[in-house]
């Protein structure tokens, strides 16, 4: 079968800064792929390129066997390639539930349908109680979850999570990870960018490591994590716990 997502020699630079040097890798359908790398490795940039926020200087991006270079961010989202943001992007003029509904409306749902589905989604993450609040009243952690739910409303095929779980407390981590695994069962593929090694270890079936705008190595998580290059470049002496120690017991 063709890979769900396939990148060929993707490069992106901002003036002097080479954020992505040459990224080539593929994501097969189904499952959860982890993406780790030092700060400034290019993870977010990669997500921005995949979702059409930045046009790559060179390289190709295929999604579901189709070259999506020409598609706008919105159209990529509509064909099932969605993302969340490292910094949350709440929709301040709408209530939490309305903000989530937007995704559904774009999928063509009626307002009633969108509302009820959005409500289910909120319950999924235990946010139902804030459904009718303004997002202004939510802590940053929860705002990211709203972004997450909003794009879930599109029935995506591939979800790119940019540090979704950073700043969540232990219990919330448990819930969110549960949901992600559950969704993965239903056939949604995830690319999980996190610095919380606990999360990475628990979720990822396949692990990709970036550094300085390049893929350093990828493969089966436990082996990758003990790869000396990764230890040197990323984990430091911290292999076992990782900074996500709050969540690292799994």
């Amino acid at each position: 079968m063709t890979a769900l997502l396939a990148l060929g020699g993707v490069a992106k630079s901002f003036g002097a800064v080479q954020s992505l040097v040459d990224v080539t890798f593929a994501i097969e359908d189904h499952g959860i792929v982890g993406l780790i790398g030092p700060n400034g490795a290019g993870k977010s940039t990669l997500i921005n390129v995949l979702t059409g926020v930045y046009a790559p200087n060179s390289g190709t991006v295929y999604f579901a066997g189709r070259d999506i270079a020409a598609l706008s961010t919105a159209d990529r989202a509509r064909i099932g390639l969605v993302r969340t943001f490292q910094r949350p992007h709440p929709i301040l003029d709408l209530t939490c539930i309305e903000g989530v509904m937007v995704g559904g409306l774009c999928r063509g749902l009626s307002q009633a349908e969108a509302r009820s589905e959005a409500h289910e989604k909120l319950e999924l993450l235990g946010l139902a109680n804030v459904a009718d609040y303004s997002p202004r009243k939510l802590p940053t952690g929860h705002l990211k979850l709203l972004d997450f739910l909003r794009v879930l409303m599109l029935r995506p095929r591939l979800v790119l999570l940019d540090e979704l779980m950073a700043g969540l407390s232990h219990n919330e981590l448990e819930v969110v990870q549960g949901v992600i695994e559950q969704l993965a069962q239903t056939g949604i593929t995830f690319l999980v960018v996190e610095h919380l090694m606990g999360v990475i270890r628990r979720l990822s079936r396949h692990l990709v490591v970036m550094d300085a705008g390049q893929i350093v190595t990828e493969g089966e998580p436990t082996t990758v994590i003990h790869d000396p290059r990764v230890v040197a470049a990323y984990l430091g002496d911290d292999v076992e716990s990782g900074s996500g120690d709050g969540a690292s017991h799994a």
């Binding site: 969605v82 992007h89 301040l92 937007v102 972004d147």
Partner: protein
Amino acid sequence: MKRTLVILVVWALFASAGILLRNNYLVSVATSAAFLAVWGQSWNVLGGLSGNISLGHSMFVAIPAYVTILLFQRADVSPLLGALLGIAAAVALAAVIGAATLRLTGPYFSLATLAAGAVVLSLILHYDELTSGPSGIPISFAHDAPEKLEFTNVRAYYLIAITLLAAVTIFLDMIKRSRLGYYIAAIKSSEAAAAAAGVRVAWVKVLAFCLSAALTALGGVFYVFFIGFADPNFLAGLALSVKIALIAVVGGTGFLIGPIIGAVFYESIDAVANAYFGAAGGWDVMILGLSVVAIVMTDPRGLCFMAERLWQAIPFRPKVSISARGV
């Protein structure tokens, strides 16, 4: 739905009031206020919903007005048909400007629209063979001809104006609750988030701009027959653009009735100041301007918020919201 009903009732009240009112002067002031309010509402599709403050909306008043009159006087196309063409022209222009100013927000957008408006004006002034330039085009008629939008009784225009106003208000309320309303709100907060959720940002923005232009144009066509004279420096001038934005904001963006309150406030201050201080020279203008300043100082968010605060101050008030909050 309930709100639509309220609007219709209020409309009926004002309609009958206008018909019964003997004083022509008050009626014509009320009419200009109503037209102003129509434009304020139309402006709000942009300024209120998407937070983009346009300072060039008078071009959407002038263009349909000119198209209609010129087609009528030069090619005697019926104003009714001409109006449609005029509105179409305004929308077309809006589409172009909208598409061009897509990437602009905040003051960049405001000043871009200001500039666009200025270009339209100087073109109208310059190509005087076509537009008869700064001299403008008088529309003189002696007797009624509804099919030509010509009425000798101001009340006709008054009724047209408040009907438009009611229609536009209801329409705006619907947009707010529509799919489009959600999209615009999303874009207002974060284009990135909207796009990520599948909202076709560019398309929605242009659409909003065109809607706003179309509604403004609708008012413009009738208005020019009301004042009976197409004066470019007035119809396409910066002053009118600013006035439109001003009354919408003075009323309080975020309120469905904001522009209406704003228009009534502005026109009445203007009328009173002109009546009692006009002879003194300058006083009327000063009072008008400073009263706007006074409002910002008492509540920067505008009259409706002020009213709401007063309302909340009343100890045993009935549990109804006096104003459709949240456009």
